[in-house]
């Protein structure tokens, strides 16, 4: 405990560490504000004059306008929405055309737009090995009675199109069967906010790498290590304490960053919207049985595990490298490797089993969860986010143990 205290005191008195931690928290706040600022709305006053709303006022405006969609996504509600849409099209033409009356659009279409969005892909047609989304005017209102059955059919079709093996079909069906139905929809949350949550996690992990990289290398570089490892507790206990204290600092920065980010984001978009099912905002065949609040928690916890895993890997590198710059470079390359490997090869084992498999852009945990991604080994299929998180967790003790062993075995060159 005494060693932990002095090590924490050392870290917290380090200007570099404090600057990085503050930078992490500030960046988290900025990344939360960005998607809020992207929301805009054109509001027409009684004189027909357009007033542009941005940010919070736009979010509030849309929440009000779209309020009728809130609640359970029942077939009846979807039918009513589709009926309204088709009537409007009959009367005024396509809502996408410039001739469509703005007031009708605002009164009739805008309130149901988020419900309507669920239909074209759900009722997509299987044509020549492809799934083609149907136009809302082509969907028979009576068909919508079996909306949830249509979701299951689409899942089967996607498996067919992706040429997934039988094991994937079984696994996907078993996951999808657990999804609560009817879906819940509380409009207002912007999916951009989730993308920015993932950016935030990515940047916090990168800051964690920069914070962790010098752990041992810095002492090798400065020669301080020669003194430290000659002390009674200068080997295993020091290595464990240094890693634990650094991990605590990184975790503290991460948690504070995520809390700040989510507070800004959730309070701006509205906490009620978090009850929305993942399927109602992303894809009707998304496999996780989560609402947006639960998705945030899963992403935050997944990010935290990734941070711990990447830090553990960085400690190991730091125990090997004589220069902190070398540790940072290699660690950053490995941290960003899944992003580039995914970009080059698509969904694959390598990018999933690396310590940072859960962070990146199109490969991040959010995309793995909401997209349809499976990995195969022989006749077995594995859901990618499960593989990613499993390996993220496995690497933690592996690299922590290797780091301690490597530090203890380190000898002066």
């Amino acid at each position: 405990m005494r060693m932990l205290k002095v090590e924490l005191k050392r870290i917290l008195k380090s200007r570099r560490a404090v600057i990085l931690m503050i930078a992490g928290i500030c960046l988290s706040a900025l990344l939360a504000v960005a998607p809020i600022s992207f929301v805009s709305a054109d509001v027409y006053d009684s004189n027909g004059k357009v007033q542009e709303l941005n940010g919070l006022s736009a979010i509030r405006y849309w929440r009000e306008i779209k309020a009728p969609s809130n609640g359970e996504v029942t077939p009846e509600k979807l039918k009513a929405a589709l009926e309204t849409y088709q009537k409007c099209v009959e009367e005024y033409g396509s809502p996408d055309s410039e001739d469509f009356p703005v007031d009708v659009y605002i009164d009739k279409i805008s309130p149901i737009r988020d419900l309507l969005r669920l239909l074209p892909t759900t009722y997509s047609e299987y044509v020549n090995g492809n799934l083609v989304p149907r136009d809302l005017t082509e969907i028979n209102i009576e068909e919508v009675d079996s909306f949830y059955e249509a979701c299951e059919t689409r899942l089967e079709n996607v498996i067919k199109v992706e040429r997934e093996p039988e094991s994937t079909s079984q696994k996907a069906a078993s996951l999808y069967n657990k999804v609560d139905r009817p879906f819940e929809l509380y409009v207002g949350y912007d999916t951009n906010a989730f993308d920015y949550l993932c950016f935030c996690i990515l940047f916090l992990v990168i800051i964690g790498v920069v914070l962790s990289a010098p752990l041992f290398s810095e002492n090798y570089e400065s020669g301080a290590d020669q003194i430290l490892r000659c002390t009674k507790y200068g080997r295993k206990k020091l290595a464990q304490t240094k890693m634990f204290a650094n991990m605590l600092t990184s975790i503290l920065m991460y948690i504070m960053g995520i809390i700040v980010h989510l507070l800004i984001s959730d309070l701006s978009f509205g906490t009620t919207t978090l009850k929305t099912s993942v399927q109602a905002i992303y894809d009707t065949i998304s496999l996780p049985n989560l609402n947006l609040f639960q998705l945030q928690i899963v992403l935050a916890v997944g990010g935290l595990l990734t941070l711990i895993s990447v830090n553990a890997f960085t400690y190991f590198l730091s125990s090997k490298f004589e220069r902190a710059a070398g540790t940072i470079s290699v660690s950053l390359i490995v941290t960003l490797a899944p992003l580039f490997i995914f970009a080059a090869f698509g969904n694959n084992w390598i990018s999933s089993i690396l310590p940072a498999g859960g962070i990146g852009l199109n490969n991040n945990l959010l995309m793995q969860l909401v997209d349809f991604r499976f990995l195969h080994l022989g006749t077995h299929s594995f859901w990618t986010p499960q593989v990613t998180m499993l390996f993220t967790i496995i690497w933690i003790p592996v690299f922590l143990i290797l780091a301690v062993r490597s530090y203890c075995k380190h000898r002066v060159a």
């Binding site: 008195k13 290590d225 003194i227 002390t231 009674k232 000898r411």
Partner: protein
């Protein structure tokens, strides 16, 4: 109390840094003299168990220090040649950190730190960052950390580098007092650091210990090899070409008094001079003499 170095060798790719060194250190101050590159630092690192010897072992009270591990490190203090530290540490924070690592009892830590700060005249700078201190002060902080746990075995590699003459004298007196019932090994190429305080001195050359003994025993080896005489100043350039002059002092009437090393008297009127440890050092390390001249 005994630290035994048994047939220790350390080979690097292109160099034999330490070659079959055996030495038994008992309580007292030990000097380890040698030119740069003689293998002193490598030997000290092996004794500190931060470098693995290619051959041989180091025993403390009969047990291999690698087996003793924590037990050995608990009674060990080390100041390496390059004193490294975290840049954000103040002197006091650093010593508190080291005290925790050395398991100095909490209730004694403060007293011990203040005592060492006082002895090493660092009290005024205790709240300053180490990085902002002068080289001499930093060296003293290094000495303080090495002594925090009252080590039974204290290894100091070039401890006086960067200290001014006054600080050197204070350091020597402090170490002399400290060394009762302890093994203190001081590596240096500054002969005066150990000449008056070392119980025994070992001399290393090209990775080997070439001589061990008390100052009196060691200097006996160059008795009748140190000469002094007075010569005209104009003859100095010529004498420098053929003699190993170790000291010269200007006298009246354009005369210069010189001390030189030679197997026999090479200049008329030469008289045998009483040898000092530094003479032996220069006898053994003629290149150091050239370095000294160059400086």
């Amino acid at each position: 109390m005994e630290l035994r170095i048994e047939q220790v060798s350390k080979h690097f790719k292109d160099k034999e840094a330490v070659n079959d060194v055996s030495l038994t250190l008992s309580a007292g101050v030990w000097g380890l003299l040698g030119a740069n590159g003689a293998g002193k630092t490598t030997l000290m690192r092996i004794i500190a168990d931060i470098m693995t010897p290619t051959k041989g072992k180091v025993l403390y009270n009969g047990t291999d220090i690698r087996q003793l591990g924590e037990t050995y490190r608990a009674v060990f203090g080390f100041l390496p040649q390059d004193f490294g530290y975290s840049r954000d540490f103040t002197v006091k924070d650093y010593l508190e950190y080291m005290a925790a690592l050395k398991d100095v009892p909490v209730d004694l830590t403060r007293k011990k730190i203040y005592e060492l700060l006082d002895i090493l005249t660092l009290s005024d700078v205790k709240n300053k960052k180490i990085a902002k201190l002068s080289g001499g002060m930093r060296r003293r902080v290094g000495i303080a950390q090495a002594m925090l746990n009252d080590p039974e075995v204290l290894i100091l590699d070039e401890p006086t580098a960067g200290l001014d003459p006054g600080e050197r004298v204070r350091f020597r007196n402090f170490i002399s007092e400290f060394a009762h019932d302890r093994i203190v090994l001081i590596s240096t190429h500054i002969v005066s650091d150990v000449e008056y305080i070392a119980t025994q001195t070992a001399i290393m050359k090209d990775g080997r210990v070439v001589d061990v003994g008390t100052t009196d025993q060691l200097v006996k080896e160059i008795e009748e090899k140190v000469w002094s005489c007075t010569v005209p100043a104009r003859t100095i350039p010529e004498l420098e070409m053929r003699l190993r002059i170790i000291n010269q002092r200007g006298e009246d009437n354009e005369q210069v008094s010189i001390r030189y090393l030679s197997e026999k008297a090479e200049v008329d009127n030469s008289k045998p001079a009483s040898p000092r440890l530094e003479d032996l050092y220069l006898w053994l390390f003629p290149n150091e003499e050239k370095d000294k001249e160059a400086h």
